[in-house]
């Protein structure tokens, strides 16, 4: 995998001079890089998100391919979380939030009247910044999704789903003797992996992660990152992260947001070695004022 990534990177670097593109942050702007790709899993066009009178996302278009990890980075308040939450209509729960634009998952309009948000969220799972296991047992945490969606017809099937999910989340070995212990009794990193297990128990196609490791210590973070890398084989993952290093480590493509605008999208290897926009360069090199 890494061979393919790196082989194309010099090509990009050679085709252009190192003159950075000064992106205007005025109302009209154009995203730099390949924000539109062939055969996307998720496709968004001209997305605008408003909180009341305040606009949080401006005219953003971004495609997400199958089985890739796309990292959304940018300074606080740049709209990356808002964008992420509009992908599974979590913004619907905020009354003053208004979303416009085209969102398609496998070509299906997810904001269509016929699309049930409950069904959508079964297809597009979400992992949150703070590990938020239910105050129930480890087993019940993972079994909750399959239960409400009726994915298992009997207890044996449910057991199977729970165990497979915990295994995929790399947690089964650590908790197999205490599946009935409360999920809240686990360590922070284990709780977050429990939340990931809970999400994949519903067999979503896409997993959205909102700063999944921001509250964890470096080792727990590394374990989560390794897990994300493994999950990529079966899921498409969009991750919002405050840590540029994390984006560099886990993602194949990186999208840089700035003040609600998608400034630059590109292969992670290119973004972190030779970004094309000055804004991106300033942010990832820590010169962002």
């Amino acid at each position: 995998m890494s061979i393919q990534q790196t082989a194309t990177a010099p090509a990009i670097a050679q085709t252009q001079t190192n003159q950075k593109i000064m992106t205007s942050t005025s109302d009209t702007y154009k995203t730099v890089g390949r924000n539109i790709i062939p055969n996307p899993k998720f496709s968004t066009r001209n997305v605008n998100v408003f909180y009341g009178d305040k606009q949080a996302i401006f005219d953003t278009s971004l495609d997400i391919g199958n089985n890739e990890v796309v990292a959304l980075i940018g300074p606080s308040g740049c709209g990356k979380s808002t964008f992420l939450r509009s992908l599974n209509r979590m913004n619907d729960t905020i009354p003053i939030c208004r979303v416009t634009g085209e969102f398609t998952l496998d070509g299906e309009d997810i904001y269509a009247k016929t699309m049930d948000p409950v069904l959508l969220r079964a297809r597009v799972g979400m992992v949150f910044q703070k590990a938020n296991p239910f105050p129930k047992s480890i087993y019940d945490n993972v079994a909750y999704g399959p239960r409400i969606h009726g994915l298992a017809s009997n207890n044996a099937e449910l057991d199977e789903i729970v165990i497979t999910s915990l295994e995929k989340a790399g947690l089964f070995k650590e908790v197999k003797d205490r599946l009935n212990a409360p999920g809240t009794g686990l360590s922070g990193g284990q709780q977050q992996r429990l939340c990931i297990a809970r999400t994949i128990a519903v067999s979503p196609e896409v997993i959205l992660m909102d700063e999944p490791a921001s509250a964890l210590d470096p080792i727990a973070t590394a374990i989560i990152e390794e897990l994300i890398d493994e999950l990529r084989e079966n899921f498409t993952i969009v991750i919002v992260t405050h840590s540029m290093q994390q984006a560099a480590r886990v993602s194949q493509r990186t999208a840089y947001f700035h003040l609600g605008k998608l400034i630059e999208v590109g292969k992670t290897s290119q973004i972190f070695t030779n970004p094309r926009c000055e804004l991106t360069e300033n942010y990832i090199t820590g010169k962002f004022g």
């Binding site: 409950v118 079964a122 799972g125 949150f128 938020n132 239910f134 105050p135 409400i148 519903v202």
Partner: protein
């Protein structure tokens, strides 16, 4: 002067201020504690006599001649209830004091025992019919309330005659007068005679009233809280409802009583003095408390748990019923119990709907006439007999015990169900 010197200079002042503040706090707590202690000591010391009843040991003749019964006569219920128990007690008293012959002295002698003594004797005989025919049995008979006060508190009142004091002295010497635990207090209902009065009726009245209150206010309160917190659209109407719920909590309770009188009794024609109406009125009063505390509990459920459920594809209703309500339950229950405790201690609205009547019967259901503990206290506090003072205090104590138990229960429930997240 350097900064550090300035800081040093002010440091002493700052510490002194902090110490002063702590001292004020300690004094405030101490004052509150002293008042509480005084109150409790006063009530307990006043209540203690009520838990003890003075009783006189009488040898009651039960031979057939005295009872005017044929030895062969069948002893059925009617015969037994028709016996002259009052006469028997008088006979026993005369036998205990053979030297009393004077008619007025005899009257005073008869007044040593409670008016209810004959019923005690009757109940004893009816439950033990085999005693009939024996020469005599020894039985502790309740003393009259004045004698009770005289014996327990050793204070003379104008209601006790010197002859009676002499009788008591004589009984004392013969070890025929003593105090025993007052079971009557818990097994009888209200009575005009303090030594016969108990709180069973009021207790059951409180029970039925609270049952109605609980069954009405808990589901309605939780339902309203969940709807307002989770589902209600954010608009002017919702704001209006919210403001009014908060206002209702501040309405004087007697207004609810007037409302109950006007609506439930006069308009709907429900029975007066019934726990049903009392419960309805108290529900109106506790609802705001329950709604406000339930909303606070629901608001305290971390949004991350709601998001987790929504993110897994749970619907809004599922999220609320699977996660929000169970997590808010300890808080809701605490609020409900505190609301119930408030209702248990409430008097004013119940006065308005007639639960202040003198009721001797123990209520058997929510439609029977009844009174409640705080009203009973109010009634007895008004009574002239000295012994009622002790009964009042004792009832207050019982009420306090119930309130404390309910509050403890609230704390225990919260501790037990509270989960970490």
């Amino acid at each position: 002067m350097s900064n550090i010197k300035l800081v040093e200079k002010n440091l002493k002042k700052r510490y002194a201020r902090e110490r002063r503040f702590q001292l004020y706090g300690k004094m405030a707590v101490l004052t509150g504690f002293i008042f509480l202690a005084l109150l409790l000591i006063d009530i307990i010391s006043k209540a203690m006599p009520a838990f003890q009843a003075t009783e006189i040991l009488l040898d009651i003749p039960l031979d057939h001649a005295t009872l005017e019964l044929e030895p062969a006569q069948k002893l059925d219920q009617d015969t037994l209830s028709a016996l002259n128990y009052a006469g028997l007690i008088k006979t026993a008293l005369r036998q205990a004091f053979p030297e009393v012959t004077n008619r007025s002295d005899k009257k005073l002698l008869y007044k040593l025992v409670s008016d209810g003594a004959e019923f005690t004797l009757r109940d004893h005989i009816i439950s033990n019919p085999e005693l009939i025919g024996k020469d005599s049995i020894s039985l502790w008979i309740k003393a009259d309330d004045d004698i009770d006060t005289l014996f327990k508190l050793e204070t003379l009142t104008s209601r006790v005659k010197p002859e009676q004091v002499a009788f008591v002295e004589q009984l004392k010497q013969e070890n025929r007068i003593a105090t025993h635990f007052n079971t009557t207090f818990f097994s009888n209902s209200d009575s005009r005679e303090p030594e016969q009065a108990g709180i069973k009726g009021a207790l059951l009245g409180s029970f039925w009233t609270l049952l109605v209150t609980l069954l009405l206010s808990l589901p309605i309160g939780i339902g309203a809280a969940v709807y307002l917190e989770e589902f209600a659209p954010q608009n002017k109407l919702t704001d209006f409802v919210e403001i009014n719920i908060n206002n209702l909590a501040a309405v004087p309770s007697i207004v609810f009583g007037l409302l109950g009188l006007a609506v439930f009794i006069n308009f709907f024609g429900m029975p007066r003095s019934a726990p049903l109406v009392g419960g309805l009125v108290l529900s109106l009063m506790t609802l705001p408390t329950i709604i406000i505390s339930s909303r606070a509990a629901i608001k305290a459920v971390p949004p991350s748990i709601k998001e987790a459920a929504l993110g897994l594809g749970a619907s809004h209703v599922q999220t609320v019923f699977h996660h929000v309500i169970p997590l808010a339950m300890p808080g809701i229950l605490t609020g409900a119990i505190i609301g119930m405790a408030q209702a248990l201690g409430e008097t004013a609205p119940l006065l308005m709907i007639g639960m202040v009547a003198f009721i001797v019967d123990v209520p058997g259901g929510i439609l029977d006439s009844a009174t409640v503990l705080p009203v009973q206290i109010y009634l007895w506090a008004d009574s002239p007999e000295r012994a009622f003072t002790a009964l009042t205090a004792a009832t207050i104590l019982v009420l306090l015990v119930f309130l404390a138990t309910m509050n403890t229960l609230a704390i225990l429930l919260r501790k037990h169900f509270e989960k970490r997240w």
